[in-house]
Amino acid sequence: MRILIVEDSAILRESLAKGLREVGHAVDTAECGDEGIRRAMEAEYDAVVLDWMLPGQDGLAVLAALARRSHRPGVVMLTARDAVADRVRGLDAGADDYLVKPFAFEELLARVHAVARRAHGNKSSVLRVGSLEIDLVARVASAVTGETRLDLGLTAREFAVLETLALRKGRPVSRLQLEDHVYDGRSRVFSNAIDSAISSIRAKMQAAHLPGLIETRRGLGYVLTEPRA
């Protein structure tokens, strides 16, 4: 999952980015509203953590810019304003959720996951593709047969690739899109990194008797599909 953090406080911005990266997300940061809008226009994000009070254009202006995108990411607004009127104003402006500073990291993480899921049209935090079960909160992929649950043992990077495919189930995702959602601007990406990850995921699925869930569409990319009957 690729997340954009737009926050003017350097300490808060870097702490959040560090925590989200350690969970396995690709995280980009912006320190002002103008930079946030530019980044949001350049890449496709699953979720945006957006401070309201920003130098230059404020959080509401960033929300307005995000609303013009074809795929609008889920937005969690951060603010020191705790009045009901402020919350209503933020939500009316297009924010999907609202978090008043100070907050717990776990709460922020849960809200980011929730808004990202909703942005892709998924209500549950557990996605199912055939016998494959992907728990977006626990960040675990398992093969479920009857009462038996077998963890595929995916690495954080592999899970991020699978998560990106699962959130877009049935739709092809290009290698470039996968790179965008798995690696942030700080990562060094090798040319075969995505292919290597896909191969590893397929091998682990094969071992768990889940063959053929990830298909290669020539010229389009990869797609996670329900198993053929």
Binding site: S9, I11, L12, G19, M53, A80, F105
Partner: protein, 483 residues
């Protein structure tokens, strides 16, 4: 302290008592005189009656006091009596006496006036003496003789007599005493009734005051919007209620300001708290190396340092608002020299060239202010202008100093670029913790400098107002008392 009602009752009772006492004394004197006069009239009537009983034919005196004696003895045998004397040219000679000795009462009695004295038994009596002349009564035979009588006998044709009567005055004294007690008891009743009436009237008059008191007592901290109703109050109490309402308005405004300040101060802490919490929570989620922990600790300390700066700034602002600045007033400060020094120091602190600020000031103006306060006022304005109102070197901050000798005011105008400020911001820019760009929380600016400057200027009898002479310029005018 006694209540208004008790004081009014005591004072009105005292006033009534004084008036009644004066009236009582006058009435007592009047009634006593009237009683004595009536008593004396009866004495006089009796004396004149006795005098009428004396008959004189020129040679012999004839009288018949038996009836008088009988009635006197019958009614007043115990006290008093009468004496009738005549003067035939040899001094007063007694004709008849009853109950009176020749010396005491008779001698003391004065003609046509009553005197008090004691009888032989030591009892109080009142005596009166009446003098008369008894014309000779002659028969027709005697008339011829009389005509032939000597000149001496003709001279005795009118006989001088004096009649002295005395009577027991105890009935008079008893009547006077009875009247006096009647007056005293009436006076006491009047005082008591008056005091009661005053007490009732005051209690009735104070009832609206009690209602007002109860109404004010019901205004609690949670109901600071409540005000005292003035429509039902008497005209005398309306000013009090209006003043109470005005006081409540002022208190409400202070509470609102303090609430706003506390709320703004609390919000200022939200971001650094969020920073500290994120630093520690994220650090604790995974195993960290020592360098990572050190980095986390350093970042945490930086957050704490900023929070400490905020606390210091808030305390300084609170201190400025609390201290009686008038006590710190210095006789005269050279404002122009002080401004130059402040500008030099601020430019050096901020690393700005000195030509960033252009100062136009007269040679010397003595301002009535504290040196430290003046430095704080001007320093905050210059710092604010340099940090937020200077877009480039081509548009330096301008400081114009004028001395209004007639009004004895020093006028300092600081002009700088508006840099995003609008007319709507002019009223709010002096509010504590206000920043145009609220996101400037991490750069050490808390939005307290202008607020402190205005508080200090007001404390020294001055003012600070902001205006926009054009869309791109902010002008802050400071006025302070000058010599």
């Amino acid at each position: 302290m006694r209540s208004i009602r008790a004081q009014a009752i005591v004072m009105s009772a005292a006033a009534i008592a004084v008036v009644v006492l004066a009236g009582m004394v006058a009435l007592d004197a009047l009634l006593a005189r009237e009683l004595r006069t009536a008593f004396d009239q009866s004495l006089r009537a009796r004396a004149e009656g006795l005098a009428a009983l004396v008959q004189w034919d020129g040679r012999t005196i004839d009288f018949d006091f038996s009836e008088e004696r009988t009635s006197w003895v019958g009614s007043r045998a115990a006290t008093g009596g009468f004496a009738v004397d005549c003067d035939r040219g040899h001094g007063w000679q007694p004709i008849e006496r009853l109950g009176l000795q020749a010396d005491a009462s008779v001698a003391n009695a004065m003609a046509d006036s009553a005197v008090d004295g004691l009888d032989a038994g030591g009892r109080s009596i009142r005596s009166m003496q009446v003098r008369a002349r008894v014309d000779a009564e002659t028969s027709e035979q005697e008339s011829g003789e009389t005509q032939q009588s000597s000149g001496e006998e003709q001279a005795a044709a009118a006989l001088p007599i004096r009649v002295t009567v005395s009577a027991d005055r105890s009935p008079l004294d008893a009547q006077i005493t009875q009247t006096r007690w009647l007056i005293i008891s009436s006076a006491l009743m009047i005082v008591a009734c008056g005091a009661t009436a005053v007490g009732l009237a005051i209690a009735r008059g104070l009832r609206p005051l009690n209602q007002l008191s109860e109404e004010v007592a019901h205004i609690e901290p949670g109901s600071e919007h409540a005000r005292v109703a003035t429509t039902y109050l008497q005209a005398e109490l309306r000013p009090i209620a209006s003043q109470v309402n005005a006081l409540l308005d002022r208190a409400h405004s202070v509470i609102e300001r303090e609430r706003g300040f506390a709320s703004a101060a609390s919000h200022e802490f939200r971001t650094p708290l969020a920073e500290a919490r994120m630093l520690l929570e994220v650090a604790l989620r995974n195993e960290r190396s020592e360098p990572e922990w050190r980095a986390t600790a350093r970042s945490s300390l930086a957050v704490l340092a900023r929070m400490q700066s905020l606390v210091d700034a808030l305390l300084a602002a609170a201190r400025h608002a609390r201290v009686d600045m008038q006590a710190l007033r210095e006789p005269s400060i050279d404002a122009c020299a002080a401004i130059t020094k402040i500008v030099d120091g601020t430019c050096a602190q901020l690393g700005r060239p000195r030509h960033s600020v252009v100062v136009e000031a007269p040679q010397f103006v003595a301002v009535e202010c504290s040196g430290a306060a003046f430095e704080s006022i001007v320093g905050n304005l210059v710092r604010n202008a340099l940090e937020h109102g200077m877009v480039d070197d081509a548009s330096p901050v301008r400081i114009e100093v004028l001395h209004d000798r007639e009004r004895r005011r020093l006028c300092i105008s600081v002009l700088n670029q508006a840099n995003g400020l609008s007319h709507a911001d002019l009223d709010r820019m002096f509010d504590p913790l206000w920043r145009k760009d609220r996101a400037r929380a991490g750069d050490g600016h808390f939005g307290l400098g202008l607020s402190v400057a205005r508080t200090l200027a007001s404390a020294f009898g001055g003012s600070i107002i902001a205006s926009m002479p054009d869309a791109s310029t902010i002008r802050v005018d400071v006025e302070l008392p000058a010599c």
